[in-house]
């Protein structure tokens, strides 16, 4: 792009730039082949791209968190949501959750834990560690639809934020065409609170009620 040339973007007459979010890519982790089949179908029927793995170790491998270059490094395979079983041999779902939240690259990916056991301390432990939600098995279509809506809403908010800042940069670019780097500042005036943190503060509010 030459200096002074402005990138054109189609902005509808209404002025509101609506971004259609792309299909969610979900990484589903479960050591049970039966549960993997079911969760895969639940997600596919909810219009998500799905990758299933049978262990926490494989999940880390896929993400590239085991030191090697992961498959999800490829742009098309970017993971938007991780759904994992809690009780798995080796790395539990909780261990996996911790590793993801410790990673600067992946901590923003929402993680949902599934478990057949309704243990309050387990649920609290996961939410405290930053899990987006906790699903009781057997998982039903309604559960998946709810999770998807939650994640899509978060993604849409993020898209809006980045498109708003792009819009601003465009406008500034139009006015000041002589200076080539006028629009390279970081626009962080709109605070994007990661949903996991939101969940955390909600949890803290709830526990203070007791």
């Amino acid at each position: 792009m030459a200096v002074g040339e402005v990138m054109r973007m189609e902005i509808p007459a209404g002025g509101d730039l609506t971004v259609t979010p792309p299909e969610l890519h979900v990484l589903a982790v479960d050591d049970s082949i039966v549960d993997r089949k079911v969760i895969e179908r639940l997600l596919r029927i909810s219009a998500c791209k799905v990758t299933t793995v049978d262990s926490g170790a494989r999940a880390l491998q896929y993400l590239g968190l085991d030191g090697n270059k992961g498959a999800s490094d490829l742009k098309d395979l970017k993971v938007n949501l991780i759904v994992t079983d809690y009780s798995m041999p080796g790395l539990t779902g909780y261990d996996l959750l911790k590793k993801i939240k410790e990673s600067s690259t992946f901590r923003e990916i929402p993680v949902v834990i599934m478990s057949s056991e309704n243990i309050l301390t387990r649920i609290e432990q996961c939410l405290k560690e930053g899990a987006e939600d906790f699903l009781l098995k057997p998982v039903k279509l309604a559960d998946v639809k709810r999770i998807k809506q939650l994640i899509m809403r978060n993604e849409a908010e993020e898209c809006k934020t980045s498109s708003l800042s792009n819009k601003r940069k465009l406008v500034e670019g139009n006015i000041d065409t002589s200076s080539s780097s006028s629009s390279s500042h970081d626009d962080s005036s709109v605070e994007d609170i990661p949903s996991s943190k939101r969940m955390k503060s909600e949890f803290e509010n709830l526990s203070s009620l007791h």
């Binding site: 049970s32 549960d35 079911v38 179908r41 639940l42 029927i45 057949s116 039903k140 279509l141």
Partner: protein, 157 residues
């Protein structure tokens, strides 16, 4: 008008309802049916097939773990397999198998050898019974479709 199809459909409906009423299936099975469509017409049969394979594998593990001839019985090992079977039976709506696993798990925790052996035998019989019943149900579906009919949606309760 094809009285044959109507009869098959009624048979199918009655049979399906009886499986729920007799406690073989619960509403998770209904949930699985929701996931079946023209694009994935054999989904339920495929999941159940995986489940029955899982049963064979896990029951084999339990039997090996309960084999006294190899040394002392490791009840936690038995319990681990029971826990897995409980999980998968729950996921497919295999109500009786799941119920047995709950009892089985208690015997494991109590380290009750006789109780465990009894449960092992029962769970083996139970999954095989369910397999036969579902085979009959799938066969009825096939007959309806082959006769040119549509498999009716059965409302439980």
């Amino acid at each position: 008008m094809n009285a044959g199809i109507a009869q098959l459909q009624m048979q199918f409906r009655d049979y399906t309802i009886s499986l729920y009423q007799q406690g073989f299936l619960d509403d998770q099975f209904t949930e699985l049916k929701k996931l079946q469509d023209d694009g994935s017409p054999d989904f339920v049969a495929e999941v159940l097939s995986l489940f029955f394979e899982d049963c064979v594998k896990l029951i084999g593990n339990m039997a090996r773990a309960l084999d006294k001839s190899t040394g002392t019985v490791d009840f936690s090992q038995v319990g681990a397999s029971v826990h897995q079977l409980k999980g998968s039976s729950s996921s497919v709506g295999a109500k009786r198998v799941k119920g047995l696993c709950v009892t089985f798990k208690e015997y494991c925790e109590a380290q009750n050898y006789e109780g465990c052996v009894r449960c092992l035998q029962q769970v083996d019989i139970e999954y095989k019974t369910l397999k036969t019943k579902l085979q009959d149900m799938f066969n009825l579906e096939k007959q309806i479709v082959q006769a040119g009919g549509v498999v009716p949606q059965v409302d439980i309760d």
